[in-house]
Symmetry: C2
Subunit: 266 residues, 2 copies
């Protein structure tokens, strides 16, 4: 089942995607809901980020092919063996929806990279959940782009703007509830050209492990988002580009790239 | 004016504190509101965290007397000169209210310290606001405790659990709208005994500078919280302690300290 959040006219609602239509739901997508008689053509609604999370989590380095790149960004020759995830948060302000522009900040030197990822959506509040139970607290999966400004990532002590600037967390287009999260393929396309292809079977820590680990100290709430970590090559995007994160079986998250309006007249 | 959020019976509301009473408000504390006829004795309500923030920001090291301690925690001989804040976020999950327990995680080795701080409350959405305009986007100030597990702060790559574990961000008791934020005194008491005393006039980056800096890349929203950074000595707390963060002119944030219930039987 595909659950989307959408705007029709001035109203925001949840709905279930059926073919080219979306059927509005009533109730809570996290507990119990039913379909209403309100149907819309997908083309007539605006898809929103699929949840309103209280937190957006990343796992730290989580694919073997990113270990060297991460070491280089940290100015270290190599990374010690990863025994645990290194959780961190993308600011809530950075969330944006499918189709919305990724805005390159005017003071970035241009190294704003895509990172296509799979994103788990928490379905039930959890705390100190065991890895083999964590899946029960996940509602489903969607696509995400962990947009990253590499210069700030190298130079700043924290990731607050490197990965948390406004529009740096596009997520969508909807939540797919019926997939095996560790058997997904993940593609990134820039202007229609395939840039990277990876598999969630390569994740060092599977979603259940990340969710369990975070929940040892931080309660996770319905709607919270947990990124998979990035894999493969990442490249800079420039204004005018179109970036697509595609997960067969889930869908395609597509975002145009624009420059921030510079009111300083420079 | 003192603005509080409180629970009376099963209902949560905002109100204005007048002496020993709280007068419920109607409307939005961020735009326009009026007082209602609903009055409660302060003793009869439960004070909640004064806002429901989308983000809780810290500035990084922000008092001269903390520079050496921060360098030591980072395993560095000294810190390079601080030209800018180093913004970071305490997880939304860590927020708790006045009177609520600070819970020492069962897997902490005991180095859970208080850090008394002053906290700015954002009143209006802002983005790329100049330092001399930032004050207009701040509604007022409250007290906060940047609870910090020092062992995790040293060993982990991020602050996710060192400063973001559940209950590690007590904030309150209310928002005072009429104070000069850079002329405040700040006291921390442990079991009634004064542990530290400092002044916001020593802040390396004043609140206006921190808010301006964060807003260059991250939109700040009404209710968001911006901590001052910690000053002075910090010491471990243990179950049974009572910690108070007092800012004369604002109020006292008081929290008991408890141990996490350990269901493992150890």
């Amino acid at each position: 089942m595909k659950i989307a959040r959408f705007r029709a006219g001035r109203r925001a609602a949840f709905g279930v995607v059926q073919g080219n239509e979306i059927v509005e739901t009533r109730g809570s997508i996290y507990s119990r809901f039913r379909l209403t008689d309100n149907r819309f053509a997908l083309a007539d609604v605006t898809l929103l980020p699929p949840t309103e999370p209280s937190a957006i989590w990343g796992p730290g380095v989580n694919f073997p092919d990113r270990v060297d790149a991460a070491a280089s960004l940290r100015g270290e020759p190599s990374l010690p063996g990863l025994k645990f995830p290194e959780p961190w948060q993308k600011g809530r302000n950075s969330l944006t929806g499918p189709g919305n522009p990724i805005i390159i900040p005017k003071d970035s030197d241009g190294e704003v990279h895509f990172e296509g990822e799979v994103v788990a959506v928490i379905g039930k509040q959890c705390r100190r959940v065991a890895p083999d139970q964590a899946g029960r607290y996940i509602l489903g999966y969607t696509c995400g782009n962990d947009v990253s400004e590499r210069t700030w990532q190298k130079e700043d002590r924290t990731l607050w703007r490197a990965k948390g600037s406004d529009t740096f967390s596009p997520v969508g287009p909807w939540i797919e509830t019926d997939v095996d999260p560790q058997q997904l393929e993940l593609l990134v396309k820039l202007n229609g050209q395939e840039m990277s292809r990876s598999k969630t079977s390569s994740m060092i820590f599977p979603f259940s492990g990340i969710v369990s680990y975070i929940s040892q100290h931080a309660t996770l709430y319905p709607g919270d988002l947990v990124f998979s970590g990035g894999s493969g090559v990442s490249r800079p995007m420039k204004p005018g580009d179109l970036v697509e994160v595609e997960v067969p079986g889930i869908g395609i998250l597509s975002n145009p790239v624009t420059a921030e309006f510079d009111s300083s007249g420079e």
